[in-house]
Amino acid sequence: MSAPVPLHRSLGLTDDELERIVEILGREPNGLELAMYAVMWSEHCSYKSSRIHLGRLPTEAPWVLVGPGENAGVVDVGDGIAAALRIESHNHPSFIEPYQGAATGVGGIIRDIFTMGARPIALMDPLRFGDLSKPRSRWIAEGVVSGISGYGNAVGVPTVGGEVVFDATYDGNPLVNVLCLGVLPTERLVLGQASGVGNLAVLLGSATGRDGIGGVSVLASAGFEETEDSAKRPSVQVGDPYEEKRLIEACLALLDAGLVVGIQDLGGAGLTCATSETASRGGVGMDVDVSAVPRREAGMEPFEVMTSESQERMLAIVEPEGLAAVQAICERWEVRATVVGRVTEGGALRILDGFDGPVLAEVPAASLHDDAPKYDRPRRRPAPPSPSADELAAPADPAADVQALVADTSWIWRQYDHMLFLNTVIGPGHDATLLRLRHPVTGADTGRGMALTTDGNHAWCAVDPRRGTALVVAEAVLNLACVGARPLAVVNCLNFGNPEHPEVMWQLSEAVDGLAEACRGLGLPVIGGNVSLYNETAGVDIDPTPVVGLLGLTGPIAHRPPGAVLAAGAVVLVVGPEPEPVLGGSAWGRLRGAPGGALPTLDLELHGRVAGLVAGLVADGALLGVHDVASGGLAATVAEMVAASATGLVADGPDDAPWWFSESPSRVVCVVGAAVVAGVEAAAAEVGVPVLRLGTAGGDVLRLGGFATLDVAALRGAWQDRLPSVLGSGTVSG
């Protein structure tokens, strides 16, 4: 008979970590204390494997009001308005329970935003699923999209964009990232900290149940053994968008009335995290009466109450004399408000059974965060992917390959309310989203716009995580340029495999360097991020997948950006350098089973000039269509424009696969009226950017020089049918 597993190990703590806890407390921890350390020191909460690397990211700029470490990053966007931005992952729960996993991811990120005092105004969903030929991948994709639709629409925050990738690397581990943008009057900025001894900690929202216990430690900080890990389903939380909607309105009303000193959402690690974080940030302690916490069911143990991840809960720090007013606002919005804690002197977090009752746990609040272990895990460069796409023979049927590289994503975003709040100038399905920038309280229109995009490319990052990540940032910058915007700030979601694999740690470290280099080169601060590790199933790690979210600004919006379309009779230009004839990590290479090869180089200085030029052309209304060259190369880029506008194109170019499929950066397809061509060329020459006259739009074929010819109607049909033909009808519940 084998010895029973010690409690600390079954909670996910190592022997060394237990020793450290004993050192901190000067005694053996009890079960409740161990449970609290286990959730707070989990990979998900403590970033113990990644923290030593994240410090290399640039985080400062004059417009940054709040950088990484708070619930969301905040930047000044002018006219007395600040923007709060955050990105997170809900990968593991979405694999187990796609609908609820995705739904609660949306709920969690929204709380992070209104915690800062901001009204959430937009969501973006970068999604990555397995190969659609597999039934489980289809089940996950349908469930995740339904969950985002069901929760996001009902909670009343529009989902204005995102991206979707289908690839076998995600067969056992989908990536469900979610980004939220909020706006607030600059002076209303609040931080998640407790202060003022004697102030009260008031728990707002849902009762606490047994859902999501150990979500951060059991689920998010370990890989999956098999492809169907249904035993972990109880660790997935269940969402209630109606509760969250009332919670948003109640919390914003409390903030408007100036009734809260600090506020913090309850997400991963639940009450333990919220109470210890607010206390340690404020340099105070807190007494928590665990018996006061409203519960969904009888018989819950204190450790369950303290670590439950039940959704739709917030912790507000209020002055005792304001309590009645807080309760009145909460009553109006039918939100439960219960005093569960008191701010105390010193730095102790005490869990009590009744404020005058026995002490169930007592730990230094800051030790749950600051003393969490930091690991410098071993790193080793993995063998590069092979075979090399640079050695592929010319395609037998180039037209079929081009057609296989394009897919209309409207099956997904038609299920999302992307218009609420009347800000969406350019919505999903384009290079970037463009929103009107209006004051969050007065509604006054600044006339300017805010642009958002999310980008990732696992294929590039598998070849070279450092340059691949830099290329991802560069692509995001060009995406913003396509809606006339200049970049302002970056958030990132680092989705990687098991950090205990040295190859994964090497990829993570390289990706951080690539992100840092690109952001420095382009003058962009990183204002927040999230690290999702253990994205592996049965010992197989996903390809490294850093995803960046980029926020930008436009001047006064005088013209609606044209989008990725063609206009019959117009001249089609490629603004930017000639492509390097390399295919490493290209979509075409992967299509042909060759994921390896060389990545193109990135000239950040030239890239910045191309982006500035294109943003200016869009803002001036000079373009009839615009689309940056990315996955699938120039061939896929123009094929998407042809399919979207049902307009043909006769393009010049060599009969050469690398020329058409290279994903060489810093290139944008610009569609212009014949009379404007010379002006665009002159503007480009002024900033030293080459321009290629690719061809003329119109007709019912897409002709790529002597390389391939496609029928417009057939291409458009294939583009439209790709997702609906495999993904059923759409939203299935909620």
Partner: protein, 220 residues
């Protein structure tokens, strides 16, 4: 009008203000509509759509006041979830069920105006086609054959879809009551008041409503 879970109220206020009117928010728990000249029941998820869309909202204290306002000839428009609430409250006939295809749809649709003799369509031309966004899961209008015949006979089908997206009977997107002062429709005219966002075709609809409000207020 705001129920817990309503989310289009600020958009409706913004839209009517862009047309020169002023909007005020009514609270579901107050048994009055105050001194307003027209009522809009906006979209969203009143009471979380729990039980059935609009099924709980119809019992809110404010709904008695809305019924009295409507009975006195006051213009009342229900948009999307507001349409669902008005059918549950029996201020309009029929019901909204889940879309054919069981999928939420957010898109811009072509909407044909079938009658101009309502508080929402007086500024339109008969047969005029407008581009107006829809945003719903339960927008599939249904009613029994007798009701449908009556709606047709009495010219109470206000607008129809050019390409029916949700399976609604007779392509119906909106209907009105016998007095023609209560209109419900699934499309969102308030989402189409600015060409910068893609369409300004909602302006004649909301403009019609403001005309009706001015009539009622006795302003020439």
């Amino acid at each position: 009008m705001v129920f817990p879970g309503t989310n289009c109220e600020a958009d409706v206020v913004h839209a009517v203000e862009s047309l020169g009117a002023s909007g005020t928010l009514l609270w579901h728990g107050d048994a009055t509509v105050g001194q307003v000249d027209a009522v809009v029941v906006p979209g969203g998820f009143a009471h979380g759509d729990y039980l059935r869309t609009g099924a709980i909202a119809r019992f809110s204290p404010v709904m008695g006041a809305v019924a009295a306002f409507a009975a006195a000839g006051g213009p009342v428009v229900g948009i999307c979830n507001g349409f669902q609430v008005l059918t549950e409250a029996r201020l309009l006939p029929g019901a909204l069920q889940k879309n054919r295809g069981l999928s939420f749809i957010c898109d811009t649709t072509a909407l044909r105006i079938e009658t101009t003799s309502t508080v929402l369509t007086s500024r339109c031309a008969p047969g005029q086609v407008l581009r107006i966004p829809i945003n719903h899961f339960e927008g599939n209008y249904t009613c029994d054959a007798d009701t449908l015949a009556r709606l047709r006979d009495e010219d109470r089908i206000v607008c129809t879809y050019v390409d029916n997206p949700n399976g609604s009977v007779a392509d119906i997107a909106g209907v009105c009551n016998e007095g023609r002062n209560v209109v419900g429709l699934m499309p969102h005219p308030e989402r189409a008041v600015d060409a910068l966002l893609g369409s300004a075709d909602g302006r004649p609809l909301l403009g019609s409503l403001l005309d009706a409000a001015l009539d009622r207020a006795g302003v020439p």
